[in-house]
């Protein structure tokens, strides 16, 4: 291996600074959430305590944090499952280059790039005019799907662009039906990527703000609750909440990454499951 050029060290330092820039602020509020009871929103630390975390678990003066957490998690799971199923189906559909697929593709891209406030406003107006109540599980759910589905679809494109069609041909040649080919050949091969789609589905929904704003109704999701707190809470309790929900996000991300890794390992160890479909 030849020696590293000087540019390597300059770029490595730049990269390190970038990572610091990404994580520095969140680490800071992580530290500040351990402020003493008398501490404020900035340094210096006024003692060290779990006071603000304890505050979160007591009867809330500031809002319904745990209810919001429950709603966000439920909604995240709903969006995750829907995103995986709908994206896979759409991914399979787009391989067929059916008539009008171009139009549908551009609709999905529009869904991704449209300013979120338009979705919020439009969905809110429709529910309003139809005399329906906006609710996080109906209008909020649909509004979030307009954000997660395009990501799921783009991942499916990336997956199928790399998919070796000869596996399917082999299955067909051996007499597998279209459904058997999908169930026993295509789905197992793309399974690790589906974990990725699920990760996008859950986390993007869990943290979604702009599209949920006018569509969640009277029961807030967690990001809405936190944003509400920014205007009227001036104690480190908001940092404690930020630290907890970020830790939760890291946990979820870690679980998904672990899942991908385990599937990869199992696959490497077990080799093929040929014949199990018979």
């Amino acid at each position: 291996m030849d020696r590293r050029p000087r540019s390597f060290y300059v770029l490595a330092a730049f990269f390190a600074l970038f990572v610091l820039f990404l994580y520095g602020p969140i680490l800071t509020i992580g530290i500040l959430s351990f402020q003493g009871p008398e501490g404020g929103l900035t340094f210096p630390m006024n003692g060290l305590s779990l006071h603000w975390f304890r505050d979160l678990f007591q009867q809330q003066a500031v809002g319904d944090i745990w209810g919001a957490f429950g709603r966000s998690t439920t909604l995240g799971l709903m969006v995750m499952i829907t995103t995986v199923v709908v994206s896979v189906m759409a991914g399979l559909a787009f391989r067929k280059r059916f008539y009008g697929s171009g139009l549908l593709f551009y609709a999905a891209i529009t869904s991704l790039v449209i300013p979120s406030i338009l979705i919020s406003l439009g969905v809110g107006l429709i529910f309003n005019q139809l005399g329906l109540k906006v609710h996080w599980a109906s209008s909020g759910f649909g509004a979030q799907l307009t954000w997660t589905l395009p990501f799921g679809l783009l991942i499916m494109f990336a997956v199928f662009n790399r998919f070796d069609k000869s596996y399917e041909e082999a299955a067909r040649d051996q007499g597998a039906s279209a459904w058997q080919t999908i169930r026993y050949v295509v789905l197992p091969i793309i399974a690790p990527s589906l974990i990725g789609v699920a990760l996008f589905g859950f986390t993007l929904s869990y943290d979604e703000f702009a599209r949920t704003l006018l569509t969640a109704g009277s029961y807030n999701t967690l990001p809405l609750e936190i944003f509400g707190m920014t205007t009227n809470v001036t104690t480190p309790v908001i940092y404690a909440l930020g630290t907890l929900t970020t830790l939760f996000s890291f946990l979820v991300i870690g679980a998904f990454l672990l899942g991908t890794w385990v599937i990869g390992r199992r696959r490497a160890r077990l080799g093929s499951d040929a014949g199990s479909a018979l």
């Binding site: 969140i26 593709f105 529009t110 429709i126 940092y239 890291f250 991300i253």
Partner: protein, 288 residues
């Protein structure tokens, strides 16, 4: 007959795409149509009524505020784009061409993408202890003797707005640029070197042209996210700056839905024109 129909790829394709189509019809197309309709409606102080009026558009285009706010929106988008591109390209370049082990490459790439899956609101809030009057930045600069008094423009200014945008959205540049760089055939770089190209020449004449699709995809993400934003500007400027998104959300808060809808229509057209131009340079489906 039924089985034949199911074997037709157009029919089967639409069947498999039906769930996606339904969601997009119900929560993308219908809302856009609704906004266009409502943009012609009238409003009283507390309600809206169906009509066909050009008043909302007349007011929008005759108000100097509109032009100022659209200009600010473009300004934020352009500055953020330039910064995220410079940072994102450098980071992706380092990862793709200077890190030699695939495992480390993936690990560092994940390190860069993980914040994308966490809350934007929290990531914005987390700048406050840094930039405030008594924040870390001011305290550090004062202790170093660089400044005597705290800088006021660190928080609640254009500076903090753009800082937050760069912080939130650089990932959207890193990921697609890294993706296209990883697909560059390494033998092309060797060929350039063998023919006597310097590192810089290889970068400018080989890597940048081959990375253009990734840059375009990143650009689409960053530009649309910044142009459609209403929350970062509000939060990071302490409501002292405005962009188009805030204009819309202020109207919504005042229940002036028709006026909000008219602004939204103009914003949507602006964004779609920008995207249409960018899409001429890249075929997204091929690049993934």
């Amino acid at each position: 007959m039924g089985a034949d129909l199911l074997r037709n790829r157009h029919v089967l394709g639409w069947l498999q795409a039906a769930p996606l189509t339904l969601v997009l019809l119900g929560f993308l197309v219908a809302p856009i149509v609704m906004i266009v309709i409502v943009s012609f409606w009238g409003a009283t102080e507390f309600s809206i009524y169906p009509a066909f009026l050009w008043d909302n558009y007349d007011f929008l285009f005759s108000s100097p505020v509109t032009y100022k706010v659209f200009w600010a929106t473009f300004k934020y988008a352009f500055i953020t784009w330039a910064l995220t591109l410079a940072i994102g390209f450098t980071v992706a370049y380092f990862l793709a061409f200077h890190v030699r082990s695939l495992t480390i490459q993936i690990a560092l790439f994940l390190l860069c993408t993980i914040p994308f899956w966490t809350s934007n609101i929290i990531r914005m809030i987390s700048w406050i202890p840094f930039l405030g009057r008594n924040g870390i930045a001011n305290q550090t600069l004062i202790s170093w003797g660089v400044i005597d008094e705290p800088l006021e423009w660190l928080l609640y200014s254009d500076f903090s707005v753009i800082l937050a945008f760069v912080h939130l959205y650089t990932l959207f540049m890193v990921v697609p640029i890294f993706n296209t760089m990883m697909r560059i055939d390494k033998s092309l770089l060797e060929a350039a070197r063998d023919n006597g190209a310097s590192g810089l020449q290889t970068l400018v004449h080989v890597i940048v042209p081959l990375t253009t699709p990734g840059i375009m995809i990143g650009t689409i993400f960053v530009v649309t996210l910044v142009m459609g934003d209403f929350i970062t500007v509000r939060f990071m400027s302490g409501s002292q700056r405005a962009n188009v998104g805030r204009l819309i959300s202020n109207d919504i808060a005042l229940l002036q839905y028709p006026s909000a809808a008219a602004t939204a229509v103009v914003l949507l057209c602006t964004v779609l024109i920008v995207i249409a131009i960018l899409l001429r340079f890249v075929n997204i489906r091929k690049e993934l």
